[in-house]
C-alpha cells in the first residue's frame, strides 16, 4: 500500500484556510500533517509564501519538532525506547529484534508502508522498562518473544484486510 499521490488541490485549500492567520505556522503544519500523514516537502514553498516566511525557516520548524515528518510514514509507527532505564533493561537487544523482524533499520519505513521504526529517549513509563509504542498503544516489560508476538498481531491485521 503506497501512500496516495498528493492531492495538491487539497493541500492548497488547507493552506488557504490558514492564510489569514499569519504567524500561526504550527497549526497550519499540524493541519497538513493530519491531512496527509506527513508534510510533503513540496508544500514547504507554498506554506512559506502563505505565512510570509522564508522556505528555509519553515523547513527549520518542521525538522525541529518530532511531531512533524517530511517523509511518509507507515501505517504503524513503532517507537522503541532507548532511554536510560530501558537501556539498563536491555532495550538495545529489543531494538535489534524489532529491526530483524521488520527487516528495516531505525528511522526507516518498510517498503509496503506498514511499519515505521523510530527510537525515543524516554516514553515516561520507565517502571515498565523496556518499553515501546505502536501508534498510541504502550507495550512494556518487553522480551524478544513478546516483541515477536506483538508484531505478529499487527501483521495479522494486514493480512485480514
Amino acid at each position: 500500500m503506497k501512500p496516495e499521490e498528493i492531492d495538491w488541490g487539497r493541500l492548497a485549500s488547507v493552506i488557504e484556510k490558514h492564510r489569514d492567520e499569519k504567524s500561526l505556522l504550527i497549526p497550519l503544519l499540524q493541519d497538513i500533517q493530519e491531512t496527509f500523514g506527513y508534510i510533503p516537502p513540496k508544500s514547504i514553498e507554498s506554506v512559506a509564501e502563505a505565512m510570509n516566511l522564508f522556505p528555509s525557516q519553515v523547513q527549520g520548524v518542521i525538522s525541529f519538532y518530532a511531531g512533524f515528518s517530511l517523509k511518509p510514514k507507515g501505517k504503524y509507527v513503532l517507537r522503541c525506547c532507548r532511554g536510560t532505564a530501558c537501556h539498563v533493561k536491555g532495550s538495545r537487544s529489543i531494538l535489534r529484534v524489532v529491526e530483524k523482524e521488520l527487516g528495516i533499520n531505525e528511522g526507516d519505513t518498510s517498503p509496503d508502508y506498514q511499519f515505521t521504526l523510530e527510537t525515543v529517549a524516554c516514553l515516561g513509563a520507565c517502571f515498565l522498562a523496556p518499553t515501546m509504542m505502536v501508534n498510541r498503544d504502550y507495550f512494556g516489560k518487553l522480551s524478544p518473544t513478546k516483541v515477536t508476538s506483538i508484531l505478529a498481531e499487527y501483521r495479522k491485521d494486514k493480512e485480514e484486510r
Binding site: I44, F54, S56, Q59, G60, S63, F64
Partner: protein
C-alpha cells in the same frame, strides 16, 4: 530612557537602560570574548562564551543578551568565568574535526583564537567529531559544516542583513546544522553567493573558495569595491602582490556594513588575471608591439597636438572613465579642455542615463546631491521604478528589503516580477516604457484627493496651479490603457502614498528609456507636490551603474559641465563659472557643449573625428550596434586606449597604455549617495603598468604642461580648492560627502535662488507596433556581472559559473511559439540579432522577453540602435521590439 549606574570590574559606569552588558563593557574598552555576537545582528545568546558574573548574587549571564540593571557589580574575567569559558571551548573543540590543522580560515578563525587565549590545547574529552558532508560544488563557497559551532551568524546575516533566506537551522540536537531548503547544494538554492555569511562565520565552516591560494593572507588593506555605484567598503587580503580574498571592511560607518554582493566578494579575482596589460604597446606596420613608456607617451602627445593643430580641437575627443578615480577624471578633462582645447569629453556614465540625473541637479541648482541609503530604512514610503537593485546594485536591494521587513510601504513598478516585487506592498506590473503615464496617473489621483503638501508647495515652489490643471485634465482611461494597469491598483497605490513623503528609487528602466527625461520630470513634480524633497528618507535616489560614475561627472568628464557640475555656458550669470576656471587654469575655455559619446561615434562616421583617447572604457562592447561602433572607430586616424585589459577596443588602438586597477593606486571615488571615499594602494600594478593619474600627468608634461599636478596630493588639493562641491576632499579624512550648494529657498532660506518650478504635464506618444516584431525585449543586468561584463568576464570564479544568459519568455508565449526550455533561438531586431537558449519564466508576462546583459561578449547590444533617442541625450537602450526564430 533612564540612566543606570553599575560597576564593571570595579569601574563605576553609567549608561542607558536597556543596553546589554556586552555593549556597555565594549564602550568602556573592556573586552569580553564572543562567538555568536555581531553588532549588526540581533543579539542571540547561542554560544555562552560572553559569560559574566554578577558578584553579589553569583549569577552567570550571557552578557550579549543580558541587559544592564541598576547597581549591578559585574566581573568579566573571574577565575570562575574562565573555567566555564574553557569548558565551553573544550566541548566545541571535542566536536571539531582534525582538518582544523589545515583550515583556510587559519589564524583568523575566532574559535581557534579564543581557544588559544584560554589555553585550551588538549580538551581532555573524548573526541567526537561531528562529520558532515563537505560541499564545494560551486565556484565561490566551501561549506564544511563539520566545523560549524551553531552560532547562527550565517543564518542571521542571511535573514537580517541580505534578506535572502537561503539557509536556516535544520534538524535538532547533534544533527542540527544550517541548511538550505531540501538540503540542496547552495547553487541550487536561493543563495545569491553574496558571501556575507562567509565573512561572518567565526570558524572554517564557511570559507571562500580560492583555487589559487590556500591559507591566511600575508597582509590586509582597506579599499573600495571596483564594481557598482554603491561603492562598498572592503578589506583585501593580499599574498605576494595578489589579492586573494575580499571581505567587507571592519569600519562601522560604511554604506555596506557587514554585507557585500557576489561581485564585490568574489569577482575581484579579475585583478589577478593573466591577461592584464603589463607594458605599453604601439602599432607599427599594422601590428601592436611593445614599447617603452617614453616612446608611447611621446607618440600620444605628438599625435594629439598635431591633429589639434592641423584639424582643429573639434577633431579630437576624449572618453573618460566611470571606473577611474576623481583625481584621474579631473586631470583627464583638464588635458581635454586646457591642452587640447576641446569639450569633446564624456564618460561611460552616459549610457547609464547620466544626462537624466543632471536634470534633477539643474532643477534644484544642486540641492539634491546627497542620498544616504541608510535613510531608506526610515522612509515613510519607497517607490521603486524601473530598478532591480537585487541584481544591479545588490546592497541597495538589501536596504529596500530590510525597509520592507521593518514595515516601510514599498511600491515596485516593474514589467517583470522581480525578487523585490515579492517584498512590495504593491507590485505594479506596468507595460514597458509606460512609467511616465503611471507617474502622471498616480499624481492625478493624489491631486484629486488633495493629497499634497500645501505649505511646502507655497513656500518653495511655483507653477503648481498650472500643474494641477494639467493633472485634472489627464485622461485616466488612457493611463490605464497605456500602462496596462487597472484603475483599482492605481487607486490603491495612491492610497498608500497619501500623506507620505516618498523616497523614489530609480534605475535603468527609467534612466535608459525613451521617455526617461519626461519620466524624471514627472517624478520631480510628484516629489515637489508631496513635499518629498529636502527631507531625510525621501527624494530621488538614482542608481549608478559604475563605482565612480557620479565622480566622473562631478569632475567635469562630461561634454556639458565643468568640474563641480558647473555650467560651461551660463550667459545669464555672466559665465562666472567658466571665467573662474579660465583664471584658475590660465587658459581660454570654449563655451560650447562638446560631443557626448554617441555624437563622437557619429562624428567619426562622418570623418570629422581624427583622434580619440579612451580611458578605461570599452565602447566596442558597451555601446549598441558594436559592429557600427567598430567601423566608426576604425576610421579614426589615431585611437589611444588606456586600460587594464586587452579589450575589444584596445585591439583596434594605435597606442595602448597599461593603467592600474583601483586597488593598485590611490585616489577617491564618489558613490550614488554622494559619499566620497579615499583609498590607498593595496598592491602594486602588474609589470610596467602605472596608476592612471601618473600616466595622465606624464602625458600632460610631454604636452608641455607645467602647472603642477605631479602628485595625487597636489591634484586632490587643487580639486578641494577649486571645486566647492568637493571642499571636503582635503586629504584629512577617508570619507567625505559632496556639498549641496543650492540657493533655492527650499535648501537655503535666505538664498537668492528663488522657488523651484513645476514643469507641465506631458504624456507619452501613442506607440504603433508593427507585427513583424511581436515581442518587446527588456535588456537587464544579472548580479554576477557588471555593465558590459569586461572585468567580471575576466573573473575565473564567475567564468566557472558558466552563465549562458538564457532568454526568458513567458510560458504562454513559449508554448504558442513551440518553444521549450533549452531550445536555441535567434532574436532579431531591426538593428541586429543574437542566438541563445530559451527559458520559460512564469514571472514574465506575455509579450515580453528578457535578455540578460554582459554574457556572450555582451551581444545583447546587437539588438538596439545606437542613436535611438527620444529627446536629446536620453538613451533609449532599455527595450526594443524583436522577433524570435527557433533554430
Amino acid at each position: 530612557m533612564e540612566d543606570i549606574t553599575l560597576t564593571i570590574n570595579g569601574k563605576k559606569i553609567s549608561c542607558q537602560e536597556g543596553t546589554s552588558i556586552l555593549n556597555v563593557a565594549e564602550e568602556y574598552g573592556i573586552k569580553i570574548p564572543t562567538l555568536c555576537h555581531h553588532h549588526d545582528l540581533e543579539p542571540f545568546g547561542a554560544c555562552r562564551l560572553c559569560l559574566v558574573e554578577e558578584e553579589k548574587t553569583g549569577r552567570l549571564m550571557a552578557s550579549c543578551v543580558a541587559p544592564v540593571a541598576q547597581d549591578m557589580t559585574i566581573l568579566t574575567d573571574s577565575p570562575r568565568i574562565t573555567k566555564h569559558r574553557r569548558n565551553i571551548v573544550r566541548l566545541m573543540m571535542a566536536e571539531h574535526p582534525e582538518s582544523c590543522l589545515v583550515c583556510s580560515k587559519g589564524n583568523r578563525c575566532q574559535l581557534r583564537q579564543i581557544a588559544a587565549q584560554l589555553g585550551v590545547g588538549e580538551t581532555d574529552l573524548y573526541p567526537m567529531p561531528n562529520y558532515k558532508r563537505l560541499e564545494q560544488a560551486n565556484p565561490f563557497i566551501i561549506r564544511d559544516l563539520s566545523k560549524c559551532i551553531l552560532c547562527g551568524k550565517c543564518i542571521r546575516a542571511d535573514h537580517e542583513l541580505v534578506v535572502v533566506g537561503a539557509i536556516d537551522y535544520n534538524l535538532r540536537g547533534f544533527r542540527s546544522r544550517p541548511a538550505t531548503v531540501h538540503d540542496l547544494p547552495l547553487k541550487d538554492s536561493s543563495c545569491t553567493f553574496c558571501g556575507t555569511c562567509v565573512s561572518m562565520c567565526p570558524t572554517g565552516a564557511l570559507a571562500s573558495k580560492n583555487t589559487q591560494y590556500v591559507g591566511t593572507p600575508e597582509r590586509e588593506g582597506l579599499s573600495v569595491c571596483g564594481f557598482c555605484g554603491v561603492g562598498c567598503s572592503l578589506t583585501m587580503g593580499v599574498a605576494g602582490e595578489q589579492v586573494i580574498e575580499v571581505n567587507p571592511s571592519h569600519r562601522q560607518d560604511t554604506v555596506n556594513g557587514a554585507t557585500l554582493c557576489v561581485r564585490g566578494h568574489f569577482a575581484h579575482d579579475f585583478l589577478n588575471a593573466g591577461e592584464r596589460l603589463i607594458r605599453p604597446m604601439i602599432r607599427k606596420d599594422g601590428e601592436l608591439i611593445s614599447a617603452s613608456w617614453d616612446e608611447a607617451l611621446e607618440i600620444v602627445a605628438d599625435r594629439l597636438l598635431n591633429i589639434k593643430r592641423t584639424s582643429g580641437p573639434q577633431s579630437v575627443a576624449l572618453l573618460g572613465s566611470s571606473k577611474c578615480t576623481n583625481e584621474e577624471n579631473y586631470l583627464f578633462q583638464k588635458i581635454a579642455r586646457v591642452l587640447l582645447g576641446t569639450n569633446n569629453i564624456d564618460n561611460g556614465g552616459y549610457s547609464s542615463g547620466q544626462r537624466l540625473l543632471r536634470l534633477i541637479d539643474e532643477k534644484t541648482d544642486g540641492g539634491c546631491r546627497i542620498h544616504p541609503l541608510e535613510q531608506l530604512e526610515k522612509a515613510e514610503a519607497i517607490f521603486v521604478l524601473g530598478a532591480n537593485p537585487d541584481q544591479s546594485a545588490p546592497v541597495v536591494g538589501y536596504y529596500l528589503k530590510r525597509a520592507s521587513r521593518k514595515g516601510v510601504t514599498l511600491i515596485v513598478a516593474d514589467p517583470r516580477q522581480t525578487e523585490l516585487a515579492d517584498f512590495a506592498s504593491v507590485w505594479l506590473s506596468l507595460l514597458p516604457q509606460s512609467d511616465l503615464e503611471l507617474i502622471n496617473g498616480i499624481s492625478a489621483l493624489l491631486y484629486q484627493k488633495k493629497a499634497y503638501d500645501p505649505s511646502f508647495i507655497d513656500r518653495f515652489t511655483e507653477g503648481f496651479g498650472e500643474y494641477g490643471d494639467g493633472l485634472s485634465s489627464l485622461d485616466l482611461e488612457r493611463v490605464t490603457g497605456v500602462t496596462g494597469l487597472d484603475l483599482d491598483i492605481l487607486e490603491e497605490t495612491a492610497g498608500l502614498l497619501n500623506g507620505k513623503k516618498i523616497a523614489f528609487v530609480i534605475g535603468h528602466g527609467i534612466l535608459q528609456q525613451r521617455y526617461g527625461m519626461q519620466s524624471i520630470e514627472a517624478l520631480f513634480n510628484l516629489s515637489l507636490m508631496t513635499g518629498s524633497l529636502g527631507h531625510a528618507g525621501a527624494g530621488i535616489y538614482g542608481l549608478a551603474r559604475e563605482n565612480n560614475q557620479i565622480g566622473a561627472w562631478d569632475m567635469g568628464t562630461a561634454p556639458h559641465a565643468l568640474p563641480g557640475r558647473q555650467p560651461l555656458n551660463d550667459v545669464l550669470n555672466g559665465d562666472t563659472a567658466r571665467r573662474g576656471w579660465e583664471r584658475a587654469w590660465q587658459a581660454k575655455l570654449l563655451p560650447d557643449q562638446g560631443s557626448n559619446v554617441v555624437r563622437m561615434i557619429e562624428e567619426a562616421e562622418k570623418g570629422n573625428l581624427k583622434a580619440l583617447y579612451i580611458l578605461g572604457e570599452n565602447p566596442l562592447r558597451s555601446l549598441p550596434q558594436p559592429e557600427r561602433v567598430r567601423k566608426a572607430l576604425e576610421s579614426v586616424d589615431f585611437v589611444v586606449v588606456q586600460d587594464i585589459f586587452p579589450t575589444e577596443t584596445a585591439e583596434i588602438a594605435d597606442v595602448i597604455m597599461p593603467g592600474a586597477a583601483f586597488s593598485e593606486k590611490g585616489g577617491s571615488i564618489t558613490n550614488m549617495e554622494g559619499r566620497i571615499q579615499t583609498f590607498r594602494p593595496v598592491t602594486s600594478p602588474p609589470g610596467e603598468a602605472k596608476p592612471d593619474w601618473e600616466i595622465l600627468f606624464l602625458l600632460a608634461a610631454k604636452m608641455g604642461y607645467t602647472g603642477g599636478n605631479d602628485s595625487l596630493e597636489k591634484i586632490r588639493a587643487e580639486i578641494a580648492e577649486l571645486v566647492p562641491m568637493y571642499a571636503e576632499l582635503d586629504g584629512q579624512r577617508d570619507v567625505a560627502w559632496v556639498k549641496e550648494t543650492s540657493q533655492r529657498k527650499l535648501f537655503d532660506p535666505g538664498g537668492k535662488g528663488g522657488m523651484i518650478p513645476f514643469s507641465s504635464v506631458v504624456s507619452t506618444g501613442d506607440e504603433v507596433y508593427d507585427d513583424i516584431y511581436p515581442f518587446t525585449a527588456i535588456l537587464g543586468s544579472v548580479r554576477y556581472h557588471l555593465g558590459s561584463g569586461t572585468r567580471t568576464g575576466y573573473s575565473d570564479r564567475i567564468g566557472e559559473l558558466g552563465l549562458k544568459g538564457e532568454i526568458e519568455i513567458s510560458p504562454e508565449d513559449g508554448i504558442n511559439s513551440g518553444l521549450r526550455n533549452g531550445d536555441m533561438v535567434r532574436v532579431l531586431s531591426p538593428h541586429g540579432s543574437l542566438e541563445r537558449a530559451i527559458r520559460l519564466e512564469k514571472r514574465l508576462r506575455k509579450g515580453l522577453i528578457f535578455v540578460p546583459l554582459a554574457v556572450n561578449a555582451n551581444d545583447a547590444m546587437n539588438l538596439i540602435g545606437l542613436t535611438e533617442l527620444c529627446r536629446p541625450e536620453s538613451p533609449g537602450w532599455k527595450t526594443c521590439r524583436v522577433k524570435l526564430e527557433k533554430l
